[in-house]
């Protein structure tokens, strides 16, 4: 298991080489699951980092980010197994 929770509908990836640390994604994220990393990337920018859980996959961080490839948002392909354990997840 990684730190990615199975219950999340979304997952954020930040390419730290492309991020310029503007912070717009952090401001935009509705559930506030993006943080600014303390360390600097090779170009001297602090970079955005996913807090590890809670992403809804809404995609707004992608839209407000000025760098073309800094942000990738993923969504769970199948609905998560929820309240009825044992039941087959359906697409």
């Amino acid at each position: 298991m990684t730190d990615v929770s199975h219950r999340d509908a979304g997952l954020l990836r930040v390419d730290t080489d492309e991020c310029k640390g503007c912070g717009l994604c952090i401001e935009a994220c509705p559930p506030k699951v993006i943080r600014m990393d303390e360390s600097l990337n090779p170009y001297g920018y602090r970079t955005a980092r996913y807090a590890g859980a809670g992403c809804t996959g809404c995609g707004i961080c992608f839209l407000v980010c000025p760098e073309p490839g800094a942000i990738t948002v993923l969504r769970a392909a199948r609905p998560r197994q929820s309240t009825a354990p044992g039941q087959q997840a359906r697409p």
């Binding site: 298991m1 492309e18 310029k20 912070g23 073309p68 948002v73 969504r75």
Partner: protein
């Protein structure tokens, strides 16, 4: 927890395919843009690229980049690209759209570019209802040059040229371009959006997509003005500048749709295809000029790809020489361009022209490396001899090319053409003797096309007869010169 099924992840949002994978502007930093952190241009680029992806128009999109911070947009968008002179993007977009009606043409401009130096171009493009898409990035300042006042600068806003803040008394009021354009009849869609918060950004993305979709559907002129942060020049953090758009800028520039005639335009929209080649003689009024079969489009177009520079004194017939050549090419069904370049004097001074003939569409009418240089005097020879393509020809009006002229790697035909023409009856026919020599090089151009071009351009029968004789003489001089070369070799 092992009872939970494996989650597979799908990409929901990632770098749009309409961006290049790497940007070759510099050796380093090939994956990041040149924009400052938090710059609105980057956000707008992304919306635009995403809309191009969604509409599947990448392979027919042409982006016109402006002068301003977004001057390098062509390094990022993997589409057709043209970079225009300051403010001229709508004029360039007009040309591209009209010559390639099937293309999707985007004029991308800053507020300095569009509302100051380019105010005439945008006004007339909108008034003509050019069916293009304009992305108008308003950050209320000249950013690239370091923060001078723009026509869109807010009252009270400081800039390097309004250091105490813009005042209506001194600098006038902020120009509301979108409102101005919305008074015109032709535009079909004008909307002002902002990048002030999530909701605004989402609306901006929808507007950009709509403005592009309107063009795909052939509806007409569409413009989206986007209030866009410039953290660097505004001297604010990216988040502060975003808020400034929403809390301050928007008060001067209210958001909303200023024009929406898309419904009405839809019923009239008929994308205009270019006329078939066979109709062009009729359209330009030369239908009864005895055109050869080539013009009807079914005969073979001659194989020819020629770039010519003609230069001399004004009055030597430089432009006419080029015109006859271009007209003859047109007559033969070729793509042609003829670009004159001369000073203000009509009879003295120097003049030159660029001529291209090709079976393929011609991208630029400029001829920087001619296959053939026709130098009608010595200054022209000196000026252009080093530009001639290796293996090409120089036709020089003189006994011999001066010793200090570097004509290595090219063929030279130097003859006293003025003298020769004088012997034929008039020194002013030297241009046609030289054209005759040139036509021998462009051997594939049918004589019938040359005849009809000459007949259209030279109306005086006395001159026509002399020019025809001159052409024959020039052809002979070139054939003799070539024979000499092959004998010698």
């Amino acid at each position: 927890m092992s009872s939970e099924p494996e989650v597979t992840w799908e990409i929901a949002s990632s770098k749009p395919a309409s961006f290049y994978s790497t940007y070759e502007r510099k050796d380093e930093l090939q994956h990041a843009t040149h924009y400052c952190p938090g710059c609105g241009h980057g956000i707008i680029h992304k919306m635009l690229a995403q809309a191009i992806d969604e509409l599947s128009i990448q392979d027919r999109t042409v982006l016109i980049s402006p002068v301003g911070c977004s001057v390098f947009a062509y390094y990022y968008f993997d589409v057709g690209n043209v970079q225009a002179a300051h403010g001229r993007a709508p004029a360039v977009a007009t040309a591209v759209k009209r010559s390639r009606p099937g293309s999707i043409v985007i004029s991308y401009q800053g507020d300095g570019d569009l509302s100051a130096i380019g105010s005439a171009e945008i006004l007339h493009a909108a008034n003509r209802g050019e069916p293009i898409t304009v992305i108008f990035v308003n950050n209320a300042i000249y950013s690239m040059t370091g923060g001078q006042m723009a026509p869109t600068t807010l009252l009270g806003q400081t800039s390097t040229t309004s250091p105490r803040g813009r005042s209506a008394a001194h600098e006038g009021y902020p120009l509301h371009v979108s409102e101005l354009l919305a008074t015109l009849e032709a535009p079909v869609y004008i909307e002002r959006v902002g990048l002030g918060d999530n909701k605004q950004v989402a609306q901006a993305a929808r507007a950009v997509r709509r403005a592009l979709e309107n063009q795909v559907r052939g509806l007409g002129f569409s413009l989206v003005e986007i209030l866009s942060p410039c953290p660097t020049i505004w001297k604010m953090s990216p988040v502060e500048s975003q808020r400034w758009v929403r809390d301050v800028m928007e008060k001067t520039f209210p958001l909303g749709v200023l024009r929406d005639h898309t419904q009405a335009a839809q019923s009239e929209a008929v994308p205009i295809p270019p006329p078939p080649l066979s109709m062009i003689p009729g359209i330009v009024g030369v239908a009864d000029a005895g055109l050869p079969a080539e013009m009807t489009g079914d005969a073979d177009v001659p194989a020819l790809d020629l770039q010519v520079r003609v230069a001399g004194f004004g009055g030597q017939g430089v432009l006419l020489l080029g015109e006859v050549l271009a007209e003859a090419g047109l007559d033969a069904g070729l793509e042609v361009s003829w670009l004159p370049s001369y000073g203000p004097e009509m009879r003295s001074g120097t003049s030159n022209c660029h001529v291209r003939l090709s079976r393929e569409p011609i991208d630029s009418p400029l001829v920087t490396h001619p296959d053939v240089l026709v130098a009608m005097n010595e200054p022209s020879l000196r000026k252009f001899c080093s530009t001639v393509h290796p293996g090409g020809w120089i036709l020089y009006n003189g006994e011999a090319s001066p010793e200090d002229c570097d004509c290595r790697g090219v063929h030279v035909l130097a003859r006293p053409f003025t003298q020769i023409a004088n012997n034929l009856g008039d020194a002013r026919a030297a241009n046609m003797v030289m054209l005759g020599a040139l036509l021998e090089i462009a051997g594939n151009l049918p004589q019938s096309s040359v005849d009809s071009a000459l007949g259209r351009l030279v109306r005086n029968p006395k001159w026509l007869a002399l020019d025809e004789t001159a052409l024959v003489c020039g052809r002979r001089l070139m054939r003799e010169a070539r024979a000499e070369v092959s004998h010698a070799g």
